[in-house]
Symmetry: C2
Subunit: 247 residues, 2 copies
């Protein structure tokens, strides 16, 4: 028995998120079916990040165990033949049999994309949040600086979440602009439920003048979801990648 790690990219538009749920198509269910077919044995992946409905990924991670003999680095190619074109496994390799993608220290990188112009652009409609109003990037950068480092991010966590420890570390939060498109690029040691989308919604409120950059300090202190801005739409969010320590 070998444990295989996959790096998975997908366009989340047509999926009800990562996690298996009855009656709907998810990334996890499609991967399990393709792997089961490929190896002729029942296979169930363990995913690193259970992305929401409509969220995209370039580098989510999953592992599975198999008795199959196929060379580990060829599995991605064979698997892609059996996957729909909106899911593409980028890489496959063998890992130790106790390696678990949610039980390792890792740095996650997300990008949130905002299309900031007067008219929507059809070819970006599924990958960026269209935002009509002017945004002041300097204010957004100032606000972002309050979030760097270790903080209790309870205010930036969906009220639905039942997680107890809401302390996380953000290593960097860069705000980049290219043409009409703004990218919030955020790296951290873990993210709470909807955390990146709530950060994006809050920074948008600072950018359009509804909030002041300094308010971010109070929002953190409040430890209350209602203190932060709205949850920005799923389609702007991409899980870019996960960096694990070598085993």
């Amino acid at each position: 028995m070998r444990r295989i790690r996959l790096t998975v990219a997908y366009d989340g538009t047509n999926y009800h998120g990562w996690q298996i749920q009855p009656g709907v198509v998810t990334i996890e269910s499609v991967l399990n079916e393709a792997l089961t077919e490929l190896f002729g044995e029942e296979i169930a992946v363990i995913g690193a990040s259970r992305t929401d409905s409509g969220v995209h990924a370039r580098g989510n991670v999953a592992v599975f165990d198999t008795e199959g003999k196929m060379a580990a680095d060829r599995i991605c190619f064979a698997l892609n033949q059996r996957l729909p074109e909106d899911i593409r496994v980028q890489d496959s390799c063998q890992v130790p049999s106790d390696w678990h993608p949610r039980k390792q220290h890792c740095v996650k990188t997300y990008e949130y994309k905002i299309l900031n112009r007067r008219m929507e652009l059809p070819d970006r409609r599924l990958y960026a949040y269209f935002y009509y109003y002017d945004l002041d990037l300097e204010r957004m950068k100032e606000a972002a600086s309050y979030l760097l480092g270790e903080h209790d991010f309870k205010s930036f966590c969906s009220a639905k979440s039942q997680v107890e420890d809401t302390v996380r570390t953000i290593y960097s939060l860069d705000i980049l602009k290219e043409g009409d498109e703004i990218t919030l690029r955020i790296r951290g040691n873990g993210f709470l439920y909807n955390m990146v989308r709530i950060i994006a919604g809050t920074l948008l409120n600072v950018g359009n003048g509804r909030m002041e950059p300094e308010e971010l300090a109070e929002i953190l202190k409040a430890r209350d979801r209602r203190a932060a801005g709205p949850t920005a739409p799923a389609k702007g969010l991409t899980l870019v990648g996960m960096e694990y320590e070598p085993f």
Copy 2:
């Protein structure tokens, strides 16, 4: 009666190109329906560029005549309310009643996008041509230089085309790279049927070593479609914009 000019952006994925054809959905047919509904009179647009099935646009141009009284610069907003989200009119304005989008001098800009890496990326699958093999950009740039200026581009025109005058001028052909994505950006006074896609296919053959940059001179001289490279897929192509002289 006023003549109104529209700047139209669309994701060509779900359309059988611009031009009306029986039994299929086209950009032109959807625009006509939405305009007819909006103004309550039968409206038929005249398009500048009849893009092929699967080709995208950020700035195609069309005109129509109407008795309607709506402010010209508001028409785009009212129209977008009635259009599917993969078509978005960027701008609307009044033009002289004899202004015709195919009978004016204009500079057209196209972009052809190539995703050059080992694995496909789902979120780029509809907007860039995935190309696995290594490409030498310096060779491609050298080849492109042969196409600049006024030439007979008959070798770069689909053999199906019946156009007689195949002389066109290319003002610039830039080859840019950002991460894994290569953009061929081409500006000219007009393009023959499939011309940009055949140029892209030919430059790919130079980039991968199958052709030499100097061969471009011979290909032009041949005036024969068979001398050039293959027609690159439609989905990589976007009509970026059309610059007309002020009226």
